[in-house]
């Protein structure tokens, strides 16, 4: 079975801190995604990567950056955490064919105080 592992289930950070969220997948998938999920707003795409060192902005990239130095690892970086970035963050991966189903990690609940 495909496994997508997010490094932390819960994270508490202070305003202004630089925050790293890590995601690793074990099925050699080309595509990796970072979403945030908030009540009433559904899943919103932050960034997408279709290959190593390749990335595309999603719907809400402001305040975030990403890094994909290796195929299996996709990192989300909050350059200077703010309280409005308190949210559930979900990483996902999919094979290299268009529009295949996504495999999600368990999520990281981030609280910024």
């Amino acid at each position: 079975d495909v496994k997508v592992t997010q490094s932390s289930r819960y994270l508490v950070k202070r305003t202004g801190e630089k925050v790293f969220l890590e995601c690793v997948q074990d099925m050699d998938h080309e595509n990796m995604f970072w979403y945030r999920q908030d009540p009433g707003l559904g899943l919103r795409l932050i960034y997408f990567s279709y290959d190593v060192k390749m990335k595309e902005k999603g719907d809400i990239p402001e305040g975030y950056s990403v890094s994909r130095e290796k195929k299996e690892r996709f990192s989300l970086i909050l350059e200077s955490a703010s309280t409005n970035q308190t949210s559930m963050y979900l990483c996902a991966s999919s094979p290299g064919t268009a529009n295949e189903k996504l495999f999600f990690g368990s999520g990281t609940q981030l609280s910024v105080l």
């Binding site: 997508v4 595509n31 559904g42 899943l43 795409l45 559930m88 268009a98 529009n99």
Partner: protein
């Protein structure tokens, strides 16, 4: 612009009370429609993919159907363990790797 709308936003059922969740979509060209289940505090889990109108997929008490404008997730004789948020997503033609998600339906099944 591709759009996916799920209804209702929330649904409460008694155990054994069958019902349906709706996912309507407006896309330039449908490549696939996906249903996911999400338990509280966890990531979504894949349930079904439907590719063409008239197609149906079943898994235990769940059956997904697809028309040219919408998909239904039918839940027959639900149990409390079916309580979850159900998400619908569409993939479109044109080579995009990014599916469009609906906001989900939160289902609670009371014993």
């Amino acid at each position: 612009e591709d759009q996916v709308t799920q209804s209702p936003e929330a649904l409460r059922l008694q155990e054994g009370e069958s019902s349906s969740l709706n996912c309507s979509y407006t896309v330039s060209g449908l490549r696939g429609l996906f249903w996911y289940r999400q338990d509280p505090g966890k990531g979504p889990e894949f349930l079904f993919t439907l590719y063409s109108a008239g197609e149906e997929k079943e898994k235990e008490r769940l059956k997904a159907t697809l028309t040219k404008k919408e998909s239904f997730l039918h839940i027959t004789a639900p149990k409390p363990e079916d309580s979850a948020t159900y998400l619908c997503a569409v993939g479109v033609t044109g080579g995009s790797y990014i599916p469009t998600f609906g906001r989900g339906t939160s289902l609670i099944v009371h014993p």
